[in-house]
Symmetry: C2
Subunit: 386 residues, 2 copies
């Protein structure tokens, strides 16, 4: 087991009916900038529940934060927050809204120049500097409700970067599984796959004797496999949605990644596909991960065999066992209506390979637990996605 | 899944060599009351490592906090802390030292009367009231390094109670597995069993569809089973000790208990056995849990069958399956040199049954997930421990 530091101070308030308790957790006498997305919260009742709970607070609103939140949108929110002198940010939505709200919370008091420097140049955001942030989660997927990470896109320059700070953990996050009931099936599917891939990226590397972390990761994978399909039922299933929501949070609150190597290459390649072709984040991950794992199977053999045995109950050994495990993974994605090949989106794998190769080469990028997935390897992986 | 609130803000610094980094996490300009136990930290080098790291701080010392920390000892530490006007408590030791230090941290600024009221009368300790507490863990077992709970004994009155407050989470805890190398085998054994029982008390109740929590609990049990014996090797095994240490913390940092019913009757009966016969905490748990689970098997049938299947890989169903699972559990305890019957300590089960029955009856006590383990049931369970 590698040395590690674990810190996840966000208070989680979980369960049916918890949004109405929002006021119990709010600091008094603060004006609030309520950040949300495309307006679905106005149709499903979450917006009304939030405003009812905040009747004693002065609330300003900023809607329209898009999937893969755009820097130019967020600067408008920062301007509004500065103008109204707000003291707290409340993000109501999924990972994109929360990620965007993190930059708003850090950007409003930021005086070092352009807030984009926080995202791209990794200007350090120190504890106590950003405005306090709280969240009401409506879409389980990214774990942003219980971590200090944020991913911001800038469409004007076709860029997309992750940044993080311990100062960006939400103070509290409300997770009400019923808030997911009105989600379109595609977004629930995206959440299942996003969480699953997050776990695989912290699990499918090489063994370091971190038995507990392996078991914790496998536990999330098994849970997602068990409840994935039921989460997609037209008639919402509370138990399935509750397990999905809590699994997605635990997939990326850093617990399972502590003391083990990780391989975020799938995310890095996926970010490029989103920037180039507009694939949803989870869609981009699902067309990369299976091929990346096959491509890297020699270096990841021990963990991929363990995955096949423990998560899928398969027996055997070596490449046959590994490929059978990965076949099961793809089958699980397909059962949850998630394609696993670029050609399923009419994207030419060769075109994607060349473009990503160029973009990685331009910034001399390489990823993976051994830092051995560079431009050439990323292109090979994408060519397999056919 | 039941509604829940999860909050565990303690920063964990985990790994080989982390004690020497203590100064990196200490607040500046504060005088420190260093609390420890019987002096083993002076023999194994941990004391020197801590003092080396604290060379820039004014440190007062209070040693001699005993296993099952005694209230009368802790009032001496409170008096010393008040006299020296310390601003922070640093607990270096196992669960008893940390539990005791929690009362010291809460007791020094307490002005409501006797600090015992915090323990017995559950006077609420509010956020910000106690002195900040940090810990250096030397004995993995109780999880006290990452929770807000403390168990205090008062030998003068043969009493022992748990109390808790969110304000009592350590600010940070340093977990260096090598600090456990000098522990006597019996204490490592106690830690393994203590952690295992903690998990079972949050797991072996009735199903509520909390699939992730079940998997997380099973993951800790499987890990402890895998590394228990290796943790007891005379030549210390870093990987085994690291997994033991992190498993024990995760067993009682509240994560696996969130959203599920729990049954702390084993602890409550065990506390009485410690008070009456001086059994070590873990010893008392191991002579209660197997018999309690057999006694309660009808109400716990679903989870005990799941336990036998998933944790022990057994097949079958009903009582045969349940008893086979519990036999395996006892066998695991025995392999780790832990007895599971009162008679193994030359304690008469009938005597224990009568005494605990009387003590429970005196305070009208009942426990268990259905609150149906009262004086009569506790006595029945103890009579089975032969």
């Amino acid at each position: 087991m590698e040395n590690f530091e674990f810190y996840a101070p966000t208070r989680i308030i979980f369960g049916d009916g918890t949004i109405s308790k929002l006021n119990k957790y709010m600091p008094p006498d603060v004006s609030v900038l309520l950040c949300y997305g495309g307006g679905s919260i106005k149709r499903n009742g979450v917006y009304d529940q939030v405003l009812d709970a905040l009747s004693d607070w002065k609330v300003y609103e900023f809607g329209g934060i898009e999937p893969n939140p755009d820097y130019d949108t967020l600067t408008e929110a920062i301007d509004l927050g500065r103008e109204k002198n707000v003291g707290m940010i409340l993000a109501v939505g999924g990972g994109s809204v929360i990620d965007g709200a993190k930059l708003v919370a850090a950007g409003i008091p930021y005086q070092g120049g352009e807030p984009w420097d926080i995202v791209k140049e990794k200007v350090k955001v120190k504890m106590g500097e950003p405005l306090p942030l709280a969240t009401v989660l409506t879409l389980p997927a990214t774990g942003s409700e219980m971590n200090g990470t944020s991913v911001i896109s800038r469409r004007a320059t076709q860029e997309k970067f992750a940044w993080r700070s311990e100062a960006m953990f939400p103070v509290f996050s409300i997770l009400d599984p019923t808030a997911t009931y009105s989600l379109p099936e595609s977004q629930v599917r995206n959440g299942i796959v996003d969480a699953y891939v997050h776990v695989m990226e912290q699990y499918a590397t090489y063994p370091v004797g971190a038995r507990l972390q392996d078991r914790q990761a496998e536990g999330i994978l098994l849970t997602l496999q068990e409840i994935g399909r039921a989460s997609l039922d037209t008639q919402p299933n509370y138990k399935a949605r509750a397990n999905l929501m809590w699994s997605a949070t635990n997939a990326l609150n850093s617990l399972i990644g502590k003391g083990v190597p990780s391989d975020w290459a799938t995310h890095m390649i996926g970010h490029e596909l989103t920037a180039l072709y507009g694939l949803a984040h989870a869609e981009s991950l699902a067309v990369v991960l299976p091929h990346l794992l096959k491509y890297q199977q020699a270096g990841k053999a021990d963990k991929l065999e363990q995955y096949a045995r423990r998560v899928w109950g398969l027996s055997g050994e070596g490449e046959n066992l590994i490929l059978a495990g990965l076949d099961n993974m793809c089958e699980f994605f397909h059962q949850n209506d998630m394609p696993t090949r670029l050609v399923d989106y009419d994207i030419d794998p060769d075109d994607a390979a060349e473009k990503v190769k160029t973009r990685f080469a331009e910034r001399d990028a390489s990823f993976g637990e051994h830092n051995d997935i560079g431009p050439v390897q990323a292109a090979e992986i994408l060519r397999m996605s056919r």
